[in-house]
């Protein structure tokens, strides 16, 4: 497939064209960049590092209705995700797209999750390569990703200065290129090589790393190791590291009923770092302290997930390091695991 280019002057026009779909793009409010549905191309903020909240919420919403009911009535009406329509997530980072590809495995594991999978089917991911690593704590290259990675993406954009280089990666991506045919032009012939060089340069600028080899196998042996108590000592038990993680996918299910009897069963993000996450109705909690919860978080990502799906559930986006209020650093923990 020949490479295309999208001149920066035409980005607005392209976004306007795409707003016939449910268009999701990074937007800035105060100093926080979050993905949101935009109707005006001017809202899109494409010169960003990475978003604070990952775009996972458009595949796996923070709160999502499973079905509606009226109390006392036997009729349950499942949510029809189809109604949300075709969605384009524009400008997400390769790590976040790769995270979606990783989480896809869980949601189709033995039982298909109809809500998630339908939404993924309806969604086209337009990635934005990281010409510069967005943060000092990026470590995607340690986990098989890359600032120019394409896994999970349908289309990849690369900022070439005056224009974006556009590479279609899947059928969905090609379809989207067709939609944008009047905004896209042919890319210069040497851009492919240029982009390759840029990718190598960007990879070279990733400064943090971990050798993950052997970690999944080693973690279960460290169950009683003293390191867990140490690394979790400062933990506040908040949900930052999990809610902002692009691969964290745990959820709670709760019922909400209005005075009228109309209600819904919905699911919402939950965090294994919360105390009530595992507490039994009897009051017994199999993970009674932050030590057990931290150990579970690391094990889930680096041992349990690979045991089932052959891939570590971490993409090295660095959010949990950047935003932890007490500077708990997953790479430091993993270093200790390696050294233990």
């Amino acid at each position: 497939m020949a490479l295309k280019k999208l001149s920066k002057e035409k980005v607005g026009e392209a976004l306007a064209e795409l707003s016939k779909f449910r268009l999701i793009a990074p937007a800035k409010s105060d100093d926080v960049v979050v993905f949101k549905q935009i109707s005006d191309p001017a809202e899109a903020y494409l010169e960003y590092g990475n978003s604070t909240v990952p775009p996972k919420k458009f595949a796996f919403p923070q709160t999502e209705t499973l079905f509606r009911f009226v109390t006392g009535s036997p009729d349950l009406t499942a949510k029809n995700v189809e109604e949300e329509g075709t969605t384009v997530i524009f400008g997400l980072r390769p790590c976040d797209a790769r995270a979606m590809a990783i989480v896809d495995k869980l949601f189709s594991w033995d039982f298909d999750d109809p809500y998630y999978l339908k939404r993924r089917e309806l969604t086209t991911l337009v990635g934005m390569a990281c010409v510069e690593p967005p943060s000092v704590n990026c470590f995607c290259t340690s986990l098989g990703g890359s600032p120019f990675g394409t896994e999970g993406l349908d289309l990849l954009l690369t900022d070439m200065g005056d224009y974006y280089l556009v590479e279609a990666l899947t059928d969905k991506g090609e379809k989207l290129e067709e939609t944008l045919s009047s905004q896209l032009e042919d890319a210069p012939a040497d851009d492919e090589k240029k982009a390759k060089d840029m990718a190598a340069a960007s990879e070279g600028k990733i400064r943090r790393s971990i050798n993950t080899e052997g970690i999944p196998e080693k973690l279960p042996d460290l169950w009683e190791n003293g390191l867990w108590k140490k690394v979790s000592a400062a933990c506040l038990g908040c949900g930052i590291c999990t809610f902002l993680c692009p691969t964290c996918h745990c959820f709670d299910i709760q019922d909400e009923v209005e005075e009228s009897g109309e209600g819904r069963r919905c699911r919402m993000w939950d965090s294994c770092m919360f105390e009530e996450y595992t507490v039994h109705a009897s009051g017994h909690n199999p993970r009674p302290t932050r030590k057990e919860r931290t150990r579970n978080r690391i094990n889930h990502k680096y041992s349990y997930y690979p045991a089932h799906f052959d891939v570590i559930a971490c993409v090295g986006c660095g959010r949990c390091i950047n935003l932890c209020p007490v500077n708990i650093d997953i790479l430091e923990i993993l270093d200790q695991v390696v050294d233990a």
């Binding site: 709160t63 704590n137 506040l236 809610f243 919360f274 105390e275 302290t289 390091i321 650093d329 430091e332």
Partner: protein
């Protein structure tokens, strides 16, 4: 400036005491200019301890965050003291906790650190986004001196200092067993101009402002968990019977959350600013807390966390309390 050697020496002395179980202080973080809480369990762990303007965390939170597992049969509960390093603002959390009888004074050993201000780490991060190797920050006069990668840079204090420090009323801890440096005289005051400015706006304007902020909230509850005054064993947010706040994330529940969080701190918030510091989506939580702080001061002439003998604001009253709003 706290002399780091003196600090470590003192810490060593304290943790060696038989009646002290643990010492909570600061140590360098894992990258850039970060510092983080340190949990010292024995004299050998004291070598990493520091105090610099990067030590932003309020360690008083850990006193009430401690997880108490049931004592095993045949074992005695460990009743030794916890030693904790506190800045002026942080010390007020201890005062307020004790005012509320959260624990007895002799449960803690307070190492007070007079403080001229800490940095706002977000501002430091924005100014030096590329610094990965450990850097150091010191406050020299009215400048922060940042050393990193073999270079030194001076930055005016106002540029990087945390907002709360510009209005600090209590730079020297109000409670301590030992003071690790010389007392610092009050160098600033608080006129609540920010709150007054927002108060003046029209109702629609105010709501538009807060609606945008609250709609960003992802309910990670970091603001609750970091707060030294949020220590209920059974938080109303987690209760299912009755469930006052739904867990779904939308403007109604988010607003309800922020109202109850702020209200629970009415007359209790000691302005350490931790909630706002930790918020990943930059909700100006202190603007909520400060509204209560201002009203409590204006209406009841009460300042939380300043006197252990004070009765908690909302569990007391005066017959002559204002009631011009009552029909």
């Amino acid at each position: 400036m706290v002399d780091v050697n003196k600090l470590r020496e003192k810490a060593r002395e304290v943790i060696s005491r038989e009646d002290v179980r643990e010492l909570i202080g600061y140590r360098p973080g894992t990258y850039g200019f970060r510092a983080r809480p340190a949990f010292v369990m024995g004299p050998d762990d004291t070598g990493e301890l520091i105090f610099t303007p990067a030590c932003v965390n309020n360690l008083a939170s850990y006193i009430v965050l401690e997880e108490k597992l049931p004592v095993k049969r045949g074992e005695e509960p460990d009743l030794r003291k916890v030693a904790v390093m506190v800045k002026g603002c942080d010390s007020r959390a201890l005062v307020q906790q004790m005012e509320e009888k959260a624990y007895d004074r002799d449960r803690i050993l307070v190492l007070g650190i007079p403080c001229r201000g800490v940095v706002d780490m977000a501002k430091v991060q924005a100014k030096y986004p590329d610094v990965l190797e450990m850097g150091e920050i010191a406050l020299e006069g009215d400048k922060f001196v940042l050393s990193f990668n073999g270079t030194k840079e001076e930055v005016p204090r106002e540029e990087l200092v945390a907002d709360k420090c510009l209005r600090c009323r209590y730079p020297t801890p109000l409670v301590y067993d030992e003071l690790l440096d010389e007392e610092v005289e009050r160098f600033a005051d608080d006129d609540f101009a920010d709150v007054a400015e927002l108060e003046k706006r029209a109702a629609d304007d105010k709501w538009a402002y807060w609606e945008e902020k609250f709609s960003r909230c992802i309910r990670c509850y970091s603001c609750r968990n970091v707060c030294p005054m949020c220590y209920c064993e059974d938080c109303v947010l987690d209760r299912l019977q009755p469930q006052w706040m739904r867990r779904s994330v939308d403007i109604s529940e988010n607003t309800a959350y922020h109202i109850s969080r702020a209200y629970h701190l009415a007359g209790r918030c000691i302005q350490c600013g931790e909630c706002q510091r930790v918020c990943p989506v930059d909700i100006p939580l202190m603007e909520l807390n400060r509204k209560f702080y201002k009203d409590v001061e204006d209406l009841y002439d009460y300042e939380p966390g300043t006197n252990v003998e004070n009765p908690p604001l909302l569990s007391t009253f005066k017959v002559e309390d204002k009631e011009d709003f009552i029909m």
